[in-house]
Amino acid sequence: MKGYCGKILIVNLSTGEIGSEAIGDDIYEMLLSGVGLGAYYLYRHIPAMADPLGPDNILGFTSGLLTGSGSLVTGRWMVVCKSPLTGGWGDANCGGTFSPAIKRCGYDALFFKGISAQPVYLYMDNHGASLRDAAHLWGIDTVESESLLRNECKAQKKPSVAVIGPAGENGALISGISNDSGRMAARSGVGAVMGSKKLKAVVLAGSRRIAVHDSARVKAISKAYAIKIKKAALPKIMKGWMLPLMGKMMAGSKNNALMDGLAVAAMNKKWGTIANNTVGVPNGDSPIKNWGGSVKDYGWGKYRHLNPDRILRRHTKPYACYACPIGCGGISAIQDVRDGRFKHTHKPEYETCAAFGGLILNSDLDAIFYINELLNRAGMDTISAGGVVAFAMECFQNGIITKADTAGLELSWGNADAVIELLRRMIQRRGIGDLLADGVKKAAEKIGAIAQPYAVHAGGQEPGMHDGKMDPLTGLHFSVEPTPGRHTIGAVVNYNLSRIWEFVSWAPKVPAKYPKDKDYAVNEENARKAKANSCLKMILDGAGGCLFAVLTGLNHWKIFDWLNATTGWDKTPDDYMQIGMRIQTLRQMFNIKHGIDPKTFKMHDRMSGKTPLKEGPLAGIALAIEPSMQSYWKELGWDENSGIPTQQALDHLQLTPLLNGEVF
């Protein structure tokens, strides 16, 4: 075995038993590692209709197949479970250092079953694993907990820690899991599942080597990529104030065109995701006013405060994830912000800036820095939290939530002070915060039908901060993903930058320039592009790859070559896409097993423009979302009316034995 360890750790929190299970080479060849290995284990071992917060749910931490191989931008770790937000397949992923730490302990994945009677954490190093008391850590935030655990678990090498904060402990369904002092695997409600198991943290301090088939070849590919990324740089005189100009021009363009992924890398090296802060508002990408507004409501006078250069002014230290030459991360000093409670925070991501910027009409950048750290420490998903706050504000504007409900909080648009107080109550589940801590879908169900028009979600999850009316494949993936509402699965821009058609025989070629209208058509070509996006994302999540690397182009970031050199396999890109298809189908079958009707994952009508916006760059646009979903399902070999994979597709993907409970 090369590139993977060939075994998984299984911890029964109810009994305290810890064991391991060998995984055959054929499983890795069929599903890679990461999310594929997670889907393999969870499909077989979580009983149908299990309570996501009950003992039958399983929480898995998985590493990528390429993590630690010497390849680059392949250090992401995945969390998998049944999602309490959607009732179906749940996963989330994050960069940092936790993914290699799993493999350095000699495992590809760690799975937790049952529920502990008392708070515990798992400690593991080269000598083995043990459950330890975590009562003294319960109630302590993610950053403090990690620091305490590092001191407590002194090892030769600094341990890597995944930990929940008070949000997960209190069962907030929009909570995530932190590593590296506040970086979040935030989606799908994975933090609530960890909290329900009374599992406070996982601390890894192994130092085992990871075997690679052809190390010299892996290094050669890595070196070539690193040189290209090093050269990709923007001139210093490129400033943030120029970005809105680009956004406005994008909004006015009737065309789409192929861009160079290395130029995207240059943007990411300079600013990270916040480069989109002031582009996304004028071009329509950023949802405004709970998805019901536009740049007309949140004009330059407001969004200019989110200029990425203003954010970089607080930059004290850049950082990169494990084995990443792009390095889009950073630490910001915020000791002078608000009550001065926080000294530092991670540079806020675009998603956070948009969720607590235009989505709620807030232009107080200091408040966004503060909220970023507040939520990272609480272990709460900033995307979902922003969506919930926007929902509450619109309900407040319409008299559905009153001052009596909020105990005096004035939830007017853009009221940053009120937002911070509301978030504190959500983290602690106090008053109105208890209602909102489980996301907009659950809150709207409790309030009643009158709130439904403002409950913007897809299948129970608040969507990422990208309007599908601007990039129609984003909207489609929001609605057909087994974990709906995810912005990282696919988009027109992702597809075009990946240049996947140069490698995969069935992926449609994109011309150098074409009318933008073509992206909105419901046809086989666009469905096939979406299929390619899904398959490629599953390969990424199986290998530990980062989306930012795909955006540099597969002609530069040679994941297929790395996979073959690492494992010794001789697979073609088409073979790997078949693996991606298998993982995607297995995740969908998990949902079918657990009673999910895929049609119910369709994104909220406001997101698809059922009643089109009247102003702004997306005015008048309505997506034909139902036909697009059917077209996608048909392209994947799933039933086009129900979204259920057909028997023929399952047989073709060799999934039938697994689904029948046989080990293959």
């Binding site: 001139p235 005189i237 363009s253 130029a263 984003t474």
Partner: protein
Amino acid sequence: MERSVRVKVFAPAFLHLSALDDEGYVTLPEGADVQTLLKALHMPMPLRHIGCCTVNAVRAKLKDTLKDGDTVSILALAAGG
């Protein structure tokens, strides 16, 4: 007959792309420099002068002369996904 050079161009869609053929190439008079290309693409002035493009993956200056077969890449954003 005037001699020309053909360069491959990766440019954001908001530029004036009529100069590009279907394969993404722009044909320019021999001796044309980067500035000539950016003008042909109607690159706005503030962006034109910041040197935000590369020729064959090396940062280019406006006065750099383009050769037949060069690849020119102009700034790109992954907004929308």
